[in-house]
Amino acid sequence: MNGLTVNKYATTAIIWILLLSAPFWLPLLGGYTALAGRVLVFALAAMSFNMLLGFTGVMSFGHAAYFGLGAYGCGLFLKFVTASTPLAIIAGTLLGGVAGTLFGLLLVRRRGVYFAMVTIAFGQVCFYIAYKWDDFTGGYDGLRGFVRAPLDFGLFKIDITNNANAFYFFIVAIFGLAAAAQAFILRSPFGRTMLAIRENERRARFLGLPVERHIWLSFSISCFFTALAGSLYALLNNFADPLGLNYIMSGNIVMITVMGGMRSFWGPLVGAVLFVMLQDYVSSMTTNWMFFVGLTFVCVVLFFPRGLMGMLQKGART
């Protein structure tokens, strides 16, 4: 047990050191800070999704909806209400989270393939609304005309608008808080119940656990976190994209999770690093990026279904 615990702390420490020092070593490797921001945003979305897939055993293929709603909520708030970044993040998170909670009510009794299909369809509803509601959401062109506002702490201000590094650390801070909250939830009795449902739903039901309510809660929590990631995405780009709501985005979130390893807490972060690197590299090399991204999907599914972390853990855990 001790070896495992030490391993765990070592992994976490290494991850944080790498994340906090990214602005210093990334340019040396030819990257830029916004790229690291994108990794973190996708990682947060995928980790939130993984609470559902990896730790509750329920498959949603429509998480782009909550990601995108978070982005739109954040952007619309900045544009039409007031220029406050923290409030906009809260607004985006609430929009996506509440929508997910409501959709979840209709979803919880479905399982397996059916659950996935209904989540896809709900995702497309949101995409469709953003796409059609031109004068409010910007339609096909996406929502523009807002910028992230500097953080105002009363005594001092942090300029995250123009200072890319400051904004990166802002994302790291929020990512850290969210990851800590997720770890806390997963360790709580509620989190253990989610695992029990994943391992054997019928047995969990026989133990008297309200399975439906737990899945609904888990779905809802996952949506709130995903929407938080979406809000950060809008801030990162100063733009909310209707394609961020599309099922292709949902597929990307699932892919990031599987590629990194869906049974591992940090798996999605690793997946996000791989995915963003791949996307950045392939789209700079060729216009046929779909072919290569699709090929990666197929190869990961056929040959590396456990993901990178899953392969690394192979020896360490059963």
Binding site: L53, M59, F61, L106, R109, R110, R111, G112, V113, Y114, A116, M117, V118, I120, A121, Q124, V125, Y128, K132, Y247, G251, V254, M255, V258, M262, N288, M290, F291, V293, G294, L295, T296, F297, V298, V300, V301, L302, P305
Partner: protein
Amino acid sequence: MLQVVMFNLTNGLIVGAFYVLMALWLSMIINLSNVVNFAHGNFLALGGYFAFTLTPYIGFWGALLVSPILTAVFGYVIEQLMIKHVYARNHIYSLLLTFGLGFILQDVCRYIWGPSPLPLGIPDILSTPLTPDLFFITWYRVFMVAVVIVAVSGLFAFLRFTRVGMRIRAGTLDLDTVSALGVNVAALRSYNFAVGSYLAGLAGVLAAGQIGLNPNMGDDLIMPSFIAIIVGGVGSLTGTLLGGLLIGVAAALTTVVLPSASEAVIYVIMAIVLLLRPRGLLGEEGMLS
């Protein structure tokens, strides 16, 4: 006004017929193999492009016969190469796999046939209108509906009266028992996939004759065919048939009243069905859950 209604009604029936073809395939694979196929729109495009390449040599009628068969063969190969390896795994893998496959197929079509739209020539006799009054109903539209009716009846007869069809139906209900009775389930799933690919190829040729070809021509059909299945009820092919026609016609009739809501209405129908009858119109309780 009557003409407008008629116009949209025929449109709706035709669009619904396409939803039905695509959704039936999806539904067959979900029922027997528990796989949601995300690439079905790309199989449709492939069927259309096969026809485009074949038409100069064997004409439209030849292409209509051969192209779906090629698509079925292609589907069989893909099933053998990729999809059969994920049957035993979590659904997430089959979704991801077909999702990636869709990306690949779309780019391959773009690479081979180019990104710009291409026309598929149809015989002159089919492009004339039925009567001058109903100028919007060309013979091609009648022909499409007729082909779809024949194909769907053929599919149902195949499932009802042939041995393989009977096994497919039995496998939908209880695959373990069918397997224990000595049926080769792996082969059954392959046939099932190939038969479904045939439908997609057929839909591709028909669609190409009406709207022409482009690499992502199938994308618009992905969501409606999912919704047709959800509305009709997972596990019931008759339900899928009904669901497809229902949302096709509903969307078209909404165009008469409120054009901007024509796509929204299919999602509204889905939400209503999920609220009032979560298993779908003809679905059975407990199916796939």
